[in-house]
């Protein structure tokens, strides 16, 4: 009992620490990446290559005046960023990061290194918690008592609900192929075997449609360009967080980056084999764990970079275009994918 609690606590600490560090790194990556794409230098003064820039930013935000505007709804105004960060953090607990299946620490099996390995509803939990993220934005938008932020909140609530459908449908395709709601089962199914000896049996191959839908929907769910209509600087100044400053503003920023990490981790886990890597059958125990973590990290890094890349490459959608894409583009595609998976499974084309 105590050993379990201790192991869980360590897991939580390690994962939360990693994620928060990643947030800081991503901030740097984003700014340097933007500069790279736009052919300029970006922050390069603090530390080697400007690597310490996030630390400086954090210090600056911490020491700025924590301003609360006069006519806001104070309780909700405070609650909104908290909800955003909590939800973003909570979603990590079911994602398997590495192969600890034959390792026990103090009699506690490590499994997939998830925080909550026994949660039978797995992905469903993730979707459920993820669907709460919208409250942070909507409440921030409403409680700020500012028409720009209200518009941002309104937009994001409609946007998130719309894209959640396609996202869930895309996930369903994977779950249908897996036959389980658990993410470690999803990963296990994709590992170890190959088509034609070279193509790993990742879900992305048979379900390329679902993968595309999922990636696009996840961009919308994280409010990233080209779907960042909730902030839309050029139209709404800064959208839902226009009235926020200091650490409360930082909370929204952090939650956005954490959501990016979650989203990337999910893409990797659902469609790109999670922590599996070719040739992993030759390893076991701690080396396997280390290699699997590395594999996961590389895949994760790619998709994190994709987020940055897309952000600085594509212009923002107009709102009606966004809705049209969601309902008339992604939703039918996701349904098609689901039907295809069902038929393929019934026919035995996918095992």
């Amino acid at each position: 009992m105590w050993a379990e609690i201790a192991v869980s606590a360590v897991k939580v600490a390690v994962i939360a620490g990693t994620v928060l560090t990643l947030v800081a790194v991503m901030e740097w990556v984003e700014r340097r990446g933007a500069a790279f794409i736009q052919d300029r230098l970006g922050p390069n003064r603090v530390g080697p290559l400007g690597l310490f820039q996030p630390i400086v930013d954090a210090v600056k935000l911490l020491f700025k005046e924590d301003l609360t505007p006069a006519n806001v709804n104070r309780g909700l105004y405070l609650l909104a960023p908290m909800i955003s960060v909590s939800v973003a953090l909570l979603t990590f607990i079911v994602i398997p990061f590495g192969a600890g299946k034959d390792i026990t620490v103090f009699g506690v099996p490590l499994g997939g290194i998830e925080v909550a390995p026994d949660l039978g509803v797995g992905v469903l939990f993730l979707l459920a918690i993820g669907s709460l993220g919208v409250y942070g934005i909507v409440l921030a938008g409403w409680s700020s008592n500012n028409k720009y932020s209200l518009l941002g909140g309104l937009r994001s609530s409609a946007q998130l609900i719309s894209y959640e459908l396609s996202m869930t449908l895309a996930v369903l395709g994977v779950l249908l192929a897996t036959g389980s709601l658990r993410l470690d089962a999803v990963v296990a199914r994709q590992g170890g075997q190959f088509w034609l000896g070279v193509i790993p049996q990742w879900n992305v191959v048979p379900q390329i449609l679902g993968c595309i839908v999922f990636v696009v929907a996840v961009f919308a769910e994280t409010n990233r360009l080209p779907f960042d209509l909730a902030e839309a600087e050029t139209e709404l100044v800064a959208g839902y967080h226009v009235e926020y400053s200091s650490m409360k503003f930082a909370a929204f920023l952090m939650s956005e980056y954490m959501n990016m990490v979650t989203a990337s981790a999910l893409i990797v886990t659902l469609f790109f084999g999670g922590w599996t890597f070719p040739g992993m059958g030759r390893f076991s125990g701690w080396p396997l764990l280390a290699l699997s973590l590395v594999a996961f990290g590389i895949k994760l890094a790619f998709f994190l970079w994709l987020f940055v890349w897309v952000r600085w490459s594509l212009p923002r959608f107009r709102y009606d275009q966004l809705m049209r894409l969601g309902w008339k583009g992604l939703l039918p595609l996701a349904t098609l994918n689901l039907v295809w998976v069902g038929v393929a499974m019934a026919m035995g084309w996918i095992r």
Partner: protein
């Protein structure tokens, strides 16, 4: 042991937030309090072994239905009730009295009942529920899809602006 403590905690929180949800003047607060109550109910589901329902409860109610409420509240500019002009004081009194009678009566009746320990065992996993849904309840399940479609079309027709 821990489950018991959790239940009484969520019960108290759930009832209190439900009271806030129906009594507070601000509609946004109403909705948010109801989210809390529904969360408490989800936890109760989990305690009752219905883990799929618990997740679905959050996903459907907190994640979709109440967001829709919030959306409408904001769309309508969070209209508060007019402070004056209650033309039916009788309604308020009778309503409260009836609800009170219902609550008190059911507590009084239920508290006096002694039931055997629950049979338990049946775990509400997604698989078990799914087998029921596409097995004996297939017709209802299909029918629900028709209902949802009808509701969707109906809602669209209601709010569609005539050009």
């Amino acid at each position: 042991m821990m489950g018991t403590a959790v239940f009484y905690l969520v019960a108290v929180v759930g009832v209190v937030s439900a009271l806030v949800a129906v009594s507070h003047k601000n509609p946004v607060v109403n909705v948010l309090s109801l989210v809390v109550t529904l969360f408490c109910i989800a936890v109760s589901y989990a305690l009752l072994g219905a883990e799929f329902l618990a997740a679905a409860q959050i996903l459907v109610y907190a994640g979709a239905i109440l967001v829709l409420f919030l959306f409408v509240v904001m769309l309508l500019g969070a209209p508060e009730e007019p402070p004056v002009g209650e033309r039916r004081p009788f309604q308020r009194v009778a309503g409260l009295a009836l609800a009170g009678i219902a609550a008190a009566g059911s507590i009084a009746v239920l508290a006096g009942i002694r039931v055997a320990a629950p049979a338990g065992a049946a775990q509400g996993t997604a698989e078990a529920l799914g087998r029921l849904l596409v097995g004996p309840y297939l017709f209802a399940f299909e029918f629900i899809s028709v209902l949802l479609l009808a509701a969707m079309v109906g809602a669209l027709m209601l709010v569609k602006r005539k050009h």
